[in-house]
Symmetry: C2
Subunit: 277 residues, 2 copies
Protein backbone atom coordinates (compact mmCIF):
# COMPACT_ATOMS: atom_id res chain seq x y z
CA UNK A 1 0.00 0.00 0.00
CA UNK A 2 1.55 3.27 -1.06
CA UNK A 3 0.40 5.05 2.07
CA UNK A 4 -2.80 7.02 1.78
CA UNK A 5 -6.34 5.84 1.12
CA UNK A 6 -8.20 6.97 -2.01
CA UNK A 7 -11.16 8.98 -0.75
CA UNK A 8 -11.91 11.24 -3.70
CA UNK A 9 -14.19 9.76 -6.34
CA UNK A 10 -12.92 12.42 -8.74
CA UNK A 11 -9.27 11.44 -8.47
CA UNK A 12 -7.71 10.53 -11.83
CA UNK A 13 -7.01 6.95 -10.71
CA UNK A 14 -10.61 6.35 -9.68
CA UNK A 15 -11.97 8.00 -12.82
CA UNK A 16 -9.67 5.93 -15.04
CA UNK A 17 -10.99 2.72 -13.46
CA UNK A 18 -14.59 3.89 -13.32
CA UNK A 19 -14.76 4.55 -17.04
CA UNK A 20 -14.02 0.86 -17.68
CA UNK A 21 -17.69 0.29 -16.92
CA UNK A 22 -18.22 1.58 -20.48
CA UNK A 23 -17.38 -0.61 -23.45
CA UNK A 24 -15.73 2.11 -25.52
CA UNK A 25 -13.18 2.74 -22.78
CA UNK A 26 -12.66 -0.96 -22.19
CA UNK A 27 -11.86 -1.42 -25.86
CA UNK A 28 -9.55 1.59 -25.86
CA UNK A 29 -7.61 0.52 -22.76
CA UNK A 30 -7.97 -3.21 -23.49
CA UNK A 31 -8.89 -3.54 -19.82
CA UNK A 32 -11.94 -4.39 -17.71
CA UNK A 33 -13.06 -4.65 -14.10
CA UNK A 34 -13.44 -7.82 -12.08
CA UNK A 35 -15.25 -7.48 -8.75
CA UNK A 36 -15.27 -9.60 -5.64
CA UNK A 37 -12.87 -12.09 -4.06
CA UNK A 38 -13.69 -15.02 -6.34
CA UNK A 39 -13.12 -13.16 -9.61
CA UNK A 40 -10.02 -11.39 -8.30
CA UNK A 41 -8.51 -14.65 -7.07
CA UNK A 42 -9.07 -16.33 -10.45
CA UNK A 43 -7.68 -13.32 -12.31
CA UNK A 44 -4.54 -13.33 -10.16
CA UNK A 45 -4.00 -16.98 -11.02
CA UNK A 46 -3.25 -15.87 -14.58
CA UNK A 47 0.13 -14.23 -15.04
CA UNK A 48 0.05 -10.53 -15.77
CA UNK A 49 -3.72 -10.16 -16.10
CA UNK A 50 -4.36 -7.96 -13.04
CA UNK A 51 -2.81 -4.54 -13.47
CA UNK A 52 -4.27 -2.77 -10.40
CA UNK A 53 -6.18 -3.85 -7.31
CA UNK A 54 -8.53 -1.64 -5.31
CA UNK A 55 -9.41 -2.79 -1.81
CA UNK A 56 -11.25 -1.36 1.17
CA UNK A 57 -9.52 -1.53 4.55
CA UNK A 58 -12.05 -4.10 5.66
CA UNK A 59 -11.57 -6.32 2.58
CA UNK A 60 -7.81 -6.05 2.99
CA UNK A 61 -8.17 -7.80 6.34
CA UNK A 62 -10.86 -10.27 5.30
CA UNK A 63 -9.09 -11.24 2.08
CA UNK A 64 -5.50 -10.82 3.26
CA UNK A 65 -4.41 -13.82 1.18
CA UNK A 66 -5.67 -12.30 -2.05
CA UNK A 67 -4.12 -8.90 -1.33
CA UNK A 68 -0.84 -10.57 -0.46
CA UNK A 69 -0.92 -12.57 -3.70
CA UNK A 70 -1.44 -9.35 -5.65
CA UNK A 71 1.50 -7.68 -3.90
CA UNK A 72 3.69 -10.74 -4.50
CA UNK A 73 2.84 -10.51 -8.17
CA UNK A 74 3.92 -6.88 -8.23
CA UNK A 75 0.38 -5.57 -8.72
CA UNK A 76 -0.15 -2.02 -7.41
CA UNK A 77 -2.68 -2.20 -4.56
CA UNK A 78 -4.77 0.89 -3.79
CA UNK A 79 -6.71 1.16 -0.57
CA UNK A 80 -10.01 2.88 -1.28
CA UNK A 81 -12.69 4.36 0.96
CA UNK A 82 -16.13 2.76 0.99
CA UNK A 83 -17.41 5.67 -1.07
CA UNK A 84 -14.77 5.18 -3.75
CA UNK A 85 -15.44 1.43 -3.86
CA UNK A 86 -19.16 2.10 -4.23
CA UNK A 87 -18.33 4.40 -7.15
CA UNK A 88 -16.19 1.77 -8.85
CA UNK A 89 -18.25 -1.30 -8.13
CA UNK A 90 -21.32 -2.07 -10.19
CA UNK A 91 -23.02 -4.12 -7.52
CA UNK A 92 -25.39 -2.91 -4.84
CA UNK A 93 -23.30 -4.46 -2.09
CA UNK A 94 -19.67 -4.20 -3.23
CA UNK A 95 -17.42 -6.84 -1.74
CA UNK A 96 -14.52 -4.47 -1.26
CA UNK A 97 -12.17 -5.95 -3.85
CA UNK A 98 -11.95 -4.83 -7.46
CA UNK A 99 -9.25 -5.58 -10.01
CA UNK A 100 -8.39 -3.81 -13.21
CA UNK A 101 -7.58 -6.63 -15.64
CA UNK A 102 -6.09 -6.73 -19.11
CA UNK A 103 -8.14 -8.47 -21.79
CA UNK A 104 -7.89 -12.26 -21.63
CA UNK A 105 -9.48 -13.35 -24.90
CA UNK A 106 -7.50 -15.24 -27.50
CA UNK A 107 -7.77 -15.59 -31.29
CA UNK A 108 -10.17 -18.24 -32.54
CA UNK A 109 -7.38 -20.39 -33.97
CA UNK A 110 -5.70 -20.55 -30.58
CA UNK A 111 -8.92 -21.39 -28.76
CA UNK A 112 -10.13 -24.05 -31.16
CA UNK A 113 -7.28 -26.45 -31.59
CA UNK A 114 -7.24 -29.86 -33.22
CA UNK A 115 -8.23 -31.77 -30.10
CA UNK A 116 -11.23 -29.58 -29.22
CA UNK A 117 -14.29 -31.66 -28.33
CA UNK A 118 -16.80 -29.19 -26.92
CA UNK A 119 -17.09 -25.54 -27.94
CA UNK A 120 -19.80 -23.00 -27.13
CA UNK A 121 -20.71 -20.22 -29.54
CA UNK A 122 -22.84 -17.28 -28.41
CA UNK A 123 -24.56 -15.69 -31.40
CA UNK A 124 -26.72 -12.62 -30.81
CA UNK A 125 -26.85 -13.22 -27.06
CA UNK A 126 -27.59 -9.76 -25.75
CA UNK A 127 -28.15 -10.17 -22.03
CA UNK A 128 -24.80 -10.06 -20.22
CA UNK A 129 -26.13 -12.06 -17.26
CA UNK A 130 -27.22 -14.85 -19.60
CA UNK A 131 -23.90 -14.76 -21.45
CA UNK A 132 -21.91 -14.99 -18.21
CA UNK A 133 -24.09 -17.84 -16.98
CA UNK A 134 -23.53 -19.76 -20.24
CA UNK A 135 -19.78 -19.18 -19.87
CA UNK A 136 -19.94 -20.60 -16.34
CA UNK A 137 -21.95 -23.63 -17.52
CA UNK A 138 -19.56 -24.22 -20.43
CA UNK A 139 -16.66 -24.21 -17.98
CA UNK A 140 -18.50 -26.61 -15.65
CA UNK A 141 -19.30 -28.94 -18.55
CA UNK A 142 -15.63 -29.01 -19.49
CA UNK A 143 -15.88 -27.03 -22.73
CA UNK A 144 -12.65 -26.26 -24.54
CA UNK A 145 -13.61 -22.71 -25.51
CA UNK A 146 -16.40 -20.14 -25.61
CA UNK A 147 -16.80 -17.91 -28.65
CA UNK A 148 -18.66 -14.58 -28.34
CA UNK A 149 -19.49 -13.68 -31.94
CA UNK A 150 -19.49 -10.09 -33.10
CA UNK A 151 -23.24 -9.66 -32.61
CA UNK A 152 -23.14 -10.83 -28.99
CA UNK A 153 -22.68 -8.92 -25.78
CA UNK A 154 -19.18 -7.91 -24.64
CA UNK A 155 -17.71 -10.67 -22.41
CA UNK A 156 -16.06 -7.93 -20.36
CA UNK A 157 -19.38 -6.31 -19.45
CA UNK A 158 -19.50 -6.17 -15.64
CA UNK A 159 -22.67 -8.26 -15.39
CA UNK A 160 -21.19 -10.92 -17.66
CA UNK A 161 -17.96 -11.06 -15.67
CA UNK A 162 -19.94 -11.44 -12.42
CA UNK A 163 -22.32 -14.07 -13.80
CA UNK A 164 -19.37 -16.09 -15.10
CA UNK A 165 -18.24 -16.50 -11.46
CA UNK A 166 -14.58 -16.67 -12.42
CA UNK A 167 -15.02 -18.83 -15.52
CA UNK A 168 -13.93 -15.96 -17.78
CA UNK A 169 -10.45 -16.70 -16.41
CA UNK A 170 -10.72 -20.49 -16.70
CA UNK A 171 -11.05 -21.35 -20.35
CA UNK A 172 -10.17 -19.77 -23.69
CA UNK A 173 -12.65 -17.05 -24.63
CA UNK A 174 -12.87 -15.58 -28.12
CA UNK A 175 -14.67 -12.37 -28.95
CA UNK A 176 -15.74 -10.32 -31.96
CA UNK A 177 -15.64 -13.10 -34.58
CA UNK A 178 -18.41 -13.22 -37.23
CA UNK A 179 -20.63 -16.29 -36.80
CA UNK A 180 -19.92 -17.56 -40.32
CA UNK A 181 -16.19 -17.47 -39.73
CA UNK A 182 -16.52 -19.23 -36.38
CA UNK A 183 -18.65 -21.98 -37.91
CA UNK A 184 -16.23 -22.46 -40.79
CA UNK A 185 -13.20 -22.77 -38.53
CA UNK A 186 -15.03 -25.05 -36.10
CA UNK A 187 -15.96 -27.37 -38.93
CA UNK A 188 -12.40 -27.30 -40.21
CA UNK A 189 -11.23 -28.30 -36.74
CA UNK A 190 -13.41 -31.38 -37.03
CA UNK A 191 -16.34 -30.32 -34.87
CA UNK A 192 -19.94 -30.95 -35.74
CA UNK A 193 -21.80 -27.66 -35.44
CA UNK A 194 -25.24 -27.83 -33.80
CA UNK A 195 -27.57 -24.86 -33.55
CA UNK A 196 -29.77 -24.98 -30.44
CA UNK A 197 -33.15 -23.65 -31.46
CA UNK A 198 -36.81 -24.37 -30.82
CA UNK A 199 -37.20 -24.69 -34.60
CA UNK A 200 -35.09 -27.85 -34.60
CA UNK A 201 -36.68 -30.93 -36.11
CA UNK A 202 -34.52 -33.18 -33.95
CA UNK A 203 -34.39 -33.15 -30.18
CA UNK A 204 -31.48 -33.51 -27.81
CA UNK A 205 -32.64 -37.07 -27.15
CA UNK A 206 -32.43 -38.04 -30.84
CA UNK A 207 -28.94 -36.90 -31.76
CA UNK A 208 -25.67 -38.68 -31.21
CA UNK A 209 -23.60 -36.28 -29.14
CA UNK A 210 -20.60 -38.51 -28.56
CA UNK A 211 -18.32 -36.81 -31.09
CA UNK A 212 -16.63 -33.39 -31.04
CA UNK A 213 -19.40 -30.79 -31.00
CA UNK A 214 -19.81 -27.03 -31.16
CA UNK A 215 -23.11 -25.61 -29.90
CA UNK A 216 -24.48 -22.29 -31.16
CA UNK A 217 -26.87 -20.50 -28.81
CA UNK A 218 -28.94 -17.57 -29.97
CA UNK A 219 -30.89 -14.60 -28.81
CA UNK A 220 -33.02 -14.74 -25.65
CA UNK A 221 -36.19 -13.61 -27.36
CA UNK A 222 -36.04 -14.74 -30.96
CA UNK A 223 -33.55 -17.60 -31.09
CA UNK A 224 -31.28 -17.94 -34.11
CA UNK A 225 -31.84 -16.30 -37.50
CA UNK A 226 -32.41 -18.48 -40.56
CA UNK A 227 -28.96 -17.78 -42.02
CA UNK A 228 -27.26 -19.16 -38.91
CA UNK A 229 -29.53 -22.21 -38.80
CA UNK A 230 -28.45 -22.92 -42.37
CA UNK A 231 -24.77 -22.75 -41.47
CA UNK A 232 -25.12 -25.45 -38.82
CA UNK A 233 -24.80 -29.16 -39.49
CA UNK A 234 -28.03 -29.70 -37.58
CA UNK A 235 -30.66 -27.73 -35.68
CA UNK A 236 -31.52 -29.33 -32.36
CA UNK A 237 -34.13 -28.40 -29.80
CA UNK A 238 -34.38 -29.25 -26.14
CA UNK A 239 -37.55 -31.35 -25.89
CA UNK A 240 -40.41 -29.73 -23.99
CA UNK A 241 -42.22 -32.40 -22.01
CA UNK A 242 -44.59 -30.08 -20.20
CA UNK A 243 -46.43 -26.91 -21.17
CA UNK A 244 -43.65 -24.32 -21.10
CA UNK A 245 -43.17 -22.59 -24.43
CA UNK A 246 -39.40 -22.74 -24.17
CA UNK A 247 -36.52 -22.71 -21.74
CA UNK A 248 -34.56 -19.70 -20.60
CA UNK A 249 -31.46 -19.37 -22.83
CA UNK A 250 -28.93 -20.07 -20.10
CA UNK A 251 -30.77 -23.13 -18.80
CA UNK A 252 -31.23 -24.52 -22.33
CA UNK A 253 -27.51 -24.06 -22.93
CA UNK A 254 -26.65 -25.89 -19.70
CA UNK A 255 -28.91 -28.80 -20.64
CA UNK A 256 -27.32 -29.06 -24.12
CA UNK A 257 -23.74 -28.74 -22.87
CA UNK A 258 -24.24 -31.34 -20.16
CA UNK A 259 -25.92 -33.69 -22.60
CA UNK A 260 -22.81 -33.41 -24.77
CA UNK A 261 -20.41 -33.81 -21.86
CA UNK A 262 -22.26 -36.89 -20.67
CA UNK A 263 -22.39 -38.52 -24.12
CA UNK A 264 -18.75 -37.83 -24.81
CA UNK A 265 -17.74 -39.29 -21.47
CA UNK A 266 -19.95 -42.32 -21.90
CA UNK A 267 -18.26 -42.89 -25.29
CA UNK A 268 -14.71 -42.40 -23.99
CA UNK A 269 -14.67 -42.05 -20.22
CA UNK A 270 -12.60 -39.25 -18.71
CA UNK A 271 -12.64 -38.51 -14.99
CA UNK A 272 -14.57 -35.48 -13.84
CA UNK A 273 -12.54 -33.06 -11.78
CA UNK A 274 -14.34 -33.94 -8.54
CA UNK A 275 -13.50 -37.00 -6.50
CA UNK A 276 -15.11 -40.17 -7.74
CA UNK A 277 -18.10 -41.36 -5.72
CA UNK B 1 -64.30 -0.70 -21.31
CA UNK B 2 -66.35 1.27 -18.80
CA UNK B 3 -65.67 4.56 -20.51
CA UNK B 4 -62.83 6.64 -19.17
CA UNK B 5 -59.11 5.95 -19.01
CA UNK B 6 -57.36 5.75 -15.66
CA UNK B 7 -54.87 8.60 -15.63
CA UNK B 8 -54.41 9.23 -11.92
CA UNK B 9 -51.78 7.10 -10.24
CA UNK B 10 -53.40 7.97 -6.91
CA UNK B 11 -56.82 6.62 -7.80
CA UNK B 12 -58.02 3.91 -5.39
CA UNK B 13 -58.12 1.29 -8.14
CA UNK B 14 -54.51 1.92 -9.15
CA UNK B 15 -53.33 2.07 -5.56
CA UNK B 16 -55.09 -1.20 -4.73
CA UNK B 17 -53.30 -2.94 -7.59
CA UNK B 18 -49.99 -1.22 -6.98
CA UNK B 19 -49.74 -2.42 -3.40
CA UNK B 20 -49.77 -6.02 -4.67
CA UNK B 21 -46.10 -5.48 -5.44
CA UNK B 22 -45.65 -6.00 -1.68
CA UNK B 23 -45.92 -9.47 -0.21
CA UNK B 24 -47.93 -8.44 2.86
CA UNK B 25 -50.69 -7.04 0.65
CA UNK B 26 -50.56 -10.02 -1.68
CA UNK B 27 -51.08 -12.33 1.27
CA UNK B 28 -53.91 -10.17 2.61
CA UNK B 29 -55.75 -9.94 -0.71
CA UNK B 30 -54.69 -13.43 -1.85
CA UNK B 31 -53.90 -11.75 -5.18
CA UNK B 32 -50.87 -10.90 -7.28
CA UNK B 33 -49.88 -9.17 -10.50
CA UNK B 34 -49.02 -10.83 -13.80
CA UNK B 35 -47.45 -8.62 -16.45
CA UNK B 36 -47.19 -8.91 -20.20
CA UNK B 37 -49.15 -10.70 -22.91
CA UNK B 38 -47.71 -14.16 -22.31
CA UNK B 39 -48.46 -14.27 -18.58
CA UNK B 40 -51.89 -12.68 -19.01
CA UNK B 41 -52.85 -15.16 -21.72
CA UNK B 42 -51.82 -18.11 -19.56
CA UNK B 43 -53.66 -16.69 -16.55
CA UNK B 44 -56.83 -16.22 -18.59
CA UNK B 45 -56.65 -19.87 -19.62
CA UNK B 46 -57.42 -20.78 -16.01
CA UNK B 47 -61.02 -20.22 -14.97
CA UNK B 48 -61.60 -17.40 -12.53
CA UNK B 49 -57.94 -16.55 -11.89
CA UNK B 50 -57.86 -13.07 -13.47
CA UNK B 51 -60.00 -10.63 -11.51
CA UNK B 52 -59.02 -7.37 -13.26
CA UNK B 53 -57.11 -6.44 -16.39
CA UNK B 54 -55.29 -3.16 -16.95
CA UNK B 55 -54.37 -2.28 -20.52
CA UNK B 56 -52.97 0.72 -22.34
CA UNK B 57 -54.81 1.90 -25.44
CA UNK B 58 -51.90 0.68 -27.55
CA UNK B 59 -51.83 -2.79 -25.97
CA UNK B 60 -55.58 -3.04 -26.38
CA UNK B 61 -55.07 -2.87 -30.13
CA UNK B 62 -51.93 -4.98 -30.29
CA UNK B 63 -53.33 -7.69 -28.03
CA UNK B 64 -56.98 -7.41 -29.02
CA UNK B 65 -57.40 -11.20 -28.73
CA UNK B 66 -56.29 -11.22 -25.11
CA UNK B 67 -58.45 -8.25 -24.15
CA UNK B 68 -61.43 -9.86 -25.89
CA UNK B 69 -60.82 -13.12 -24.04
CA UNK B 70 -60.81 -11.22 -20.75
CA UNK B 71 -64.08 -9.48 -21.59
CA UNK B 72 -65.64 -12.77 -22.67
CA UNK B 73 -64.68 -14.21 -19.31
CA UNK B 74 -66.41 -11.32 -17.54
CA UNK B 75 -63.15 -9.80 -16.31
CA UNK B 76 -63.35 -6.03 -15.71
CA UNK B 77 -60.96 -4.34 -18.17
CA UNK B 78 -59.53 -0.93 -17.24
CA UNK B 79 -57.83 1.22 -19.80
CA UNK B 80 -54.85 2.94 -18.19
CA UNK B 81 -52.59 5.75 -19.29
CA UNK B 82 -48.92 5.03 -19.93
CA UNK B 83 -48.10 6.74 -16.67
CA UNK B 84 -50.49 4.55 -14.70
CA UNK B 85 -49.13 1.41 -16.39
CA UNK B 86 -45.58 2.47 -15.56
CA UNK B 87 -46.67 2.89 -11.93
CA UNK B 88 -48.23 -0.58 -11.82
CA UNK B 89 -45.64 -2.48 -13.84
CA UNK B 90 -42.40 -3.58 -12.27
CA UNK B 91 -40.48 -3.74 -15.52
CA UNK B 92 -38.49 -0.97 -17.15
CA UNK B 93 -40.39 -1.35 -20.41
CA UNK B 94 -43.94 -2.32 -19.45
CA UNK B 95 -45.75 -4.25 -22.15
CA UNK B 96 -49.07 -2.53 -21.55
CA UNK B 97 -51.00 -5.48 -20.13
CA UNK B 98 -51.24 -6.31 -16.45
CA UNK B 99 -53.64 -8.66 -14.73
CA UNK B 100 -54.66 -8.87 -11.10
CA UNK B 101 -54.83 -12.61 -10.39
CA UNK B 102 -56.11 -14.64 -7.49
CA UNK B 103 -53.65 -17.06 -5.88
CA UNK B 104 -53.23 -20.26 -7.88
CA UNK B 105 -51.32 -22.49 -5.47
CA UNK B 106 -52.79 -25.72 -4.21
CA UNK B 107 -52.29 -27.81 -1.06
CA UNK B 108 -49.38 -30.24 -1.12
CA UNK B 109 -51.67 -33.28 -1.05
CA UNK B 110 -53.45 -32.09 -4.17
CA UNK B 111 -50.22 -31.34 -6.01
CA UNK B 112 -48.44 -34.56 -5.15
CA UNK B 113 -50.78 -37.34 -6.07
CA UNK B 114 -50.12 -41.07 -6.30
CA UNK B 115 -48.92 -41.01 -9.91
CA UNK B 116 -46.43 -38.17 -9.48
CA UNK B 117 -43.10 -38.95 -11.11
CA UNK B 118 -41.14 -35.69 -11.03
CA UNK B 119 -41.48 -33.02 -8.36
CA UNK B 120 -39.31 -29.97 -7.72
CA UNK B 121 -38.81 -28.58 -4.21
CA UNK B 122 -37.30 -25.13 -3.68
CA UNK B 123 -35.77 -24.92 -0.20
CA UNK B 124 -34.23 -21.61 0.86
CA UNK B 125 -34.17 -20.29 -2.69
CA UNK B 126 -34.14 -16.55 -2.13
CA UNK B 127 -33.68 -15.01 -5.54
CA UNK B 128 -37.07 -14.63 -7.23
CA UNK B 129 -35.55 -14.67 -10.72
CA UNK B 130 -33.86 -17.99 -9.99
CA UNK B 131 -37.04 -19.42 -8.48
CA UNK B 132 -39.11 -18.42 -11.51
CA UNK B 133 -36.51 -19.85 -13.88
CA UNK B 134 -36.56 -23.17 -11.99
CA UNK B 135 -40.36 -23.18 -12.20
CA UNK B 136 -40.11 -22.66 -15.97
CA UNK B 137 -37.54 -25.46 -16.32
CA UNK B 138 -39.64 -27.80 -14.17
CA UNK B 139 -42.60 -27.12 -16.44
CA UNK B 140 -40.48 -27.73 -19.55
CA UNK B 141 -39.12 -30.98 -18.11
CA UNK B 142 -42.68 -32.15 -17.49
CA UNK B 143 -42.63 -31.99 -13.69
CA UNK B 144 -45.87 -32.79 -11.89
CA UNK B 145 -45.52 -30.03 -9.28
CA UNK B 146 -43.24 -27.40 -7.81
CA UNK B 147 -43.11 -26.88 -4.06
CA UNK B 148 -41.90 -23.55 -2.64
CA UNK B 149 -41.08 -24.38 0.99
CA UNK B 150 -41.67 -21.86 3.75
CA UNK B 151 -38.08 -20.60 3.70
CA UNK B 152 -38.14 -19.85 -0.02
CA UNK B 153 -39.10 -16.75 -1.94
CA UNK B 154 -42.77 -15.96 -2.61
CA UNK B 155 -43.82 -17.51 -5.96
CA UNK B 156 -46.05 -14.46 -6.49
CA UNK B 157 -43.12 -12.05 -6.35
CA UNK B 158 -43.20 -10.05 -9.60
CA UNK B 159 -39.73 -11.14 -10.68
CA UNK B 160 -40.59 -14.78 -10.06
CA UNK B 161 -43.83 -14.52 -12.03
CA UNK B 162 -41.96 -12.91 -14.93
CA UNK B 163 -39.07 -15.41 -14.91
CA UNK B 164 -41.55 -18.29 -14.90
CA UNK B 165 -42.73 -17.08 -18.32
CA UNK B 166 -46.27 -18.35 -17.73
CA UNK B 167 -45.30 -21.62 -16.06
CA UNK B 168 -46.80 -20.46 -12.74
CA UNK B 169 -50.13 -21.05 -14.48
CA UNK B 170 -49.17 -24.40 -16.03
CA UNK B 171 -48.51 -26.84 -13.25
CA UNK B 172 -49.52 -27.25 -9.62
CA UNK B 173 -47.53 -24.95 -7.35
CA UNK B 174 -47.42 -25.35 -3.58
CA UNK B 175 -46.19 -22.67 -1.21
CA UNK B 176 -45.39 -22.21 2.47
CA UNK B 177 -44.84 -25.85 3.40
CA UNK B 178 -41.98 -26.74 5.78
CA UNK B 179 -39.27 -28.77 4.02
CA UNK B 180 -39.56 -31.67 6.46
CA UNK B 181 -43.28 -31.99 5.80
CA UNK B 182 -42.78 -31.81 2.04
CA UNK B 183 -40.12 -34.52 2.15
CA UNK B 184 -42.29 -36.77 4.33
CA UNK B 185 -45.31 -36.47 2.04
CA UNK B 186 -43.20 -36.92 -1.09
CA UNK B 187 -41.73 -40.12 0.31
CA UNK B 188 -45.19 -41.33 1.29
CA UNK B 189 -46.31 -40.70 -2.30
CA UNK B 190 -43.59 -43.09 -3.42
CA UNK B 191 -41.02 -40.60 -4.67
CA UNK B 192 -37.31 -40.92 -4.03
CA UNK B 193 -36.10 -37.61 -2.61
CA UNK B 194 -32.78 -36.35 -3.97
CA UNK B 195 -31.03 -33.26 -2.63
CA UNK B 196 -29.00 -31.45 -5.29
CA UNK B 197 -25.86 -30.21 -3.59
CA UNK B 198 -22.16 -29.85 -4.32
CA UNK B 199 -21.56 -31.90 -1.16
CA UNK B 200 -23.06 -34.98 -2.79
CA UNK B 201 -20.85 -38.07 -2.91
CA UNK B 202 -22.69 -39.32 -6.00
CA UNK B 203 -23.00 -37.49 -9.28
CA UNK B 204 -25.88 -37.19 -11.64
CA UNK B 205 -24.14 -39.71 -13.90
CA UNK B 206 -24.01 -42.35 -11.15
CA UNK B 207 -27.59 -42.45 -9.95
CA UNK B 208 -30.52 -44.29 -11.43
CA UNK B 209 -33.08 -41.63 -12.20
CA UNK B 210 -35.64 -43.80 -13.92
CA UNK B 211 -38.08 -43.96 -10.99
CA UNK B 212 -40.35 -41.31 -9.47
CA UNK B 213 -38.10 -38.58 -8.12
CA UNK B 214 -38.38 -35.36 -6.14
CA UNK B 215 -35.44 -32.95 -6.40
CA UNK B 216 -34.64 -30.46 -3.63
CA UNK B 217 -32.74 -27.36 -4.71
CA UNK B 218 -31.19 -25.04 -2.15
CA UNK B 219 -29.87 -21.59 -1.64
CA UNK B 220 -27.89 -19.79 -4.37
CA UNK B 221 -24.90 -19.09 -2.17
CA UNK B 222 -24.67 -21.82 0.41
CA UNK B 223 -26.59 -24.79 -0.96
CA UNK B 224 -28.63 -26.94 1.38
CA UNK B 225 -28.22 -27.09 5.17
CA UNK B 226 -27.12 -30.34 6.81
CA UNK B 227 -30.57 -31.07 8.25
CA UNK B 228 -32.13 -31.05 4.79
CA UNK B 229 -29.34 -33.18 3.32
CA UNK B 230 -30.12 -35.74 6.06
CA UNK B 231 -33.81 -35.80 5.16
CA UNK B 232 -33.09 -36.76 1.56
CA UNK B 233 -32.70 -40.32 0.33
CA UNK B 234 -29.52 -39.27 -1.43
CA UNK B 235 -27.39 -36.19 -2.01
CA UNK B 236 -26.41 -35.80 -5.65
CA UNK B 237 -24.13 -33.29 -7.31
CA UNK B 238 -23.89 -32.20 -10.91
CA UNK B 239 -20.42 -33.30 -12.00
CA UNK B 240 -18.00 -30.49 -12.75
CA UNK B 241 -15.83 -31.49 -15.69
CA UNK B 242 -14.00 -28.19 -16.04
CA UNK B 243 -12.72 -25.64 -13.56
CA UNK B 244 -15.93 -23.87 -12.48
CA UNK B 245 -16.55 -24.10 -8.76
CA UNK B 246 -20.22 -24.78 -9.25
CA UNK B 247 -23.18 -24.09 -11.50
CA UNK B 248 -25.71 -21.32 -11.11
CA UNK B 249 -28.70 -22.66 -9.15
CA UNK B 250 -31.20 -22.39 -11.99
CA UNK B 251 -28.90 -24.06 -14.52
CA UNK B 252 -28.02 -26.88 -12.10
CA UNK B 253 -31.74 -27.44 -11.52
CA UNK B 254 -32.41 -27.60 -15.27
CA UNK B 255 -29.61 -30.14 -15.76
CA UNK B 256 -30.97 -32.34 -12.92
CA UNK B 257 -34.60 -32.11 -14.02
CA UNK B 258 -33.76 -32.93 -17.63
CA UNK B 259 -31.56 -35.83 -16.56
CA UNK B 260 -34.58 -37.20 -14.67
CA UNK B 261 -36.99 -36.56 -17.52
CA UNK B 262 -34.68 -38.28 -19.97
CA UNK B 263 -34.08 -41.33 -17.73
CA UNK B 264 -37.76 -41.73 -16.97
CA UNK B 265 -38.66 -41.55 -20.64
CA UNK B 266 -35.91 -43.97 -21.62
CA UNK B 267 -37.31 -46.38 -19.00
CA UNK B 268 -40.94 -45.97 -20.06
CA UNK B 269 -41.27 -43.85 -23.18
CA UNK B 270 -43.89 -41.09 -23.19
CA UNK B 271 -44.22 -38.69 -26.08
CA UNK B 272 -42.88 -35.19 -25.60
CA UNK B 273 -45.39 -32.48 -26.32
CA UNK B 274 -43.62 -31.37 -29.48
CA UNK B 275 -43.98 -33.18 -32.78
CA UNK B 276 -41.70 -36.16 -33.15
CA UNK B 277 -38.67 -35.60 -35.39
Amino acid sequence: MAGSELTNIKSPRVKAARRLTKRAFRDRDRSFLAEGPQAVREALALDGVVTELFTTAEAEIRHADIVAAARDAGVPVHRASGEVMAELAQTVTPQGLLAVCGFVHVPLERAVTAGARLVTVLAHVRDPGNAGTVLRSADAAGADAVVFTDASVDPYNGKCVRASAGSLFHLPVVTGVPVAQAVRELKEAGLRVLAADGAGTRTLDDVDLSGPTAWIFGNEAWGLPEEILRLADDVVRVPIYGRAESLNLATAAAVCLYASARSQRAASPVAARDPAP
